[in-house]
Amino acid sequence: MREIKKDFPIFSHYPHTYLDTAATAHKPQVVIDAVSQTYSETYGSVHRGLYDLSVRASDGFEQARHCVSDFIHANETGSVVFTGGTTDGINLVARGVKNLLTPGSNLVITRMEHHANFVPWQVVARETGTELRIINLTPMGDLDMRHAEQLIDRDTKIVSVAHISNLLGAVNDVKTITDLARKYHALSLVDAAQSIGHMSVDVRELGCDFLAFSGHKMYGPTGIGVLYVRSECLEMLEPFRYGGGMVREVKDEGTTYRSGPAGFEGGTPNLAGVMGLAAAIRYLQRLGFDYIQAHSRRLTEKLVDMFKEDEIKVVGNPRSRLGSVSFLVDDIHPHDVASILAGDRICVRGGHHCAMPLLRDLAIPATTRASIGIYNGEEDIHTLRQSLVKVRRVFS
């Protein structure tokens, strides 16, 4: 495989070791070009103009929707709604199913959720008097499936679960969870923010009703995301963002809404973001997910092995780990670790990783996290290793 780093201009403009893809990924030139070309060559109002630029913009927008739909294998089962990102998509569903939630019913999430898949459910549960149930983890850091079986029952309305934990890197057995949900006629949502850039995501295989992800973690632009909605769920989902573009007819006495994805896309759409996202998808498809996943797995394992060899504590030991590894260097605060690494132009994340309920459960205030992208190589892990020696020296 040719050197992928060369596709990402930021590495030549600012040489550095980037191990923070779980927070946000760098952008290949093809994505930057797609965004730039949209604004400089094909920009226009989507679905709102009769002039040629608008028609071309609208065509590009809908082609991108097809591209996303192919990407997650959604053509036969549901629709792609463009959102602002994963957080936006999950909020859309949490608000959209609110009418299903009543006192006596429950909704189920897990202990390892990012705040984006925790707080919206906590809020909507409080507003509706619904019980919020949280699936525990095993001591290794996997979902406790026996606990899941206890929590998901005939009063469960929706189950929302991360495909991959942003803190532990644990790859969850999502299919078992969605099967459980379906058994009790509950809906299911998969937060694919951390998996979408590392593995082939197939909504048919996952068996979910909703799936949310962001463009920026899969080498696309910020401010664009995707919510997959299974066809049968489109009608029951209440609109979330009211305004222009999502309405059928507006009268003084009331408004009717468009059916399909358009009913959830109020406001002027993010055309450049959508075009950049489609370019990112084509880029990943050219590399192929067989290669991408194998690469991510190999480097994730290398990271874990390196930490273990150097007696750096790795947080969790899940059966399958992809992309992210959280670690603790002796008793040195993660911010101090991240700061000294930053001095060597190594980018990692230090802090709570928007996963406070998980850290509280683990009785750890914060961790440092290294995460892998397609541009990383073993040399990046070696650079990290060298710099961690320095961290220990400063705090010895």
Partner: protein
């Protein structure tokens, strides 16, 4: 030496490892919380007798990085026994020192080691965490 390594001045490392005034105070009259929701650093700052005109005894405990612990330790050590007005002045000039837009130095030798924070803006919130909480508390005493 790059900016990050300048940040870890021996005095900061020393206070980070062995903070002064670092104990929970029995019978504290007031407990002020200093919390940074972005990184999770969290201290409780104990005041023995807040109603008086001076900071007679002050201590802290909690969780933080070397920079936030060292800054808390050195600030608390510095204001111990000062009048409320003097404590405010010390903390005020410390906060000014860390302001990237303020080109000043302070003659407070120990606290001036935090100058390097200006070159590491990502760590400014660590250094000012306790100072800001204490200053807010002292200012509210007047009302």
């Amino acid at each position: 030496m790059n900016n990050t390594h300048k940040l870890y001045h021996p005095l900061i490392l020393e206070h980070g490892k062995r903070p002064r005034c670092f104990y929970p105070m029995d019978g504290a009259a007031r407990i002020v919380e200093a919390y940074n929701p972005i990184c999770g650093d969290q201290f409780q700052i104990f005041f023995k007798e807040p109603e008086l005109q001076s900071v007679s005894e002050v201590s802290f405990q909690g969780y933080g990085c070397a920079v936030s612990i060292a800054a808390s330790s050195m600030i608390l050590e510095r204001i111990q026994g000062l009048s409320v007005a003097d404590a405010q002045r010390v903390i005020g000039s410390f906060l000014q020192l860390l302001d990237k837009d303020e080109d000043i130095s302070i003659d407070d030798e120990p606290l001036s080691v935090f100058c390097a924070v200006r070159e590491n803006p990502g760590r400014r919130d660590c250094a000012i965490l306790s100072a800001r909480a204490i200053l807010t508390y002292l200012e509210n005493l007047k009302e």
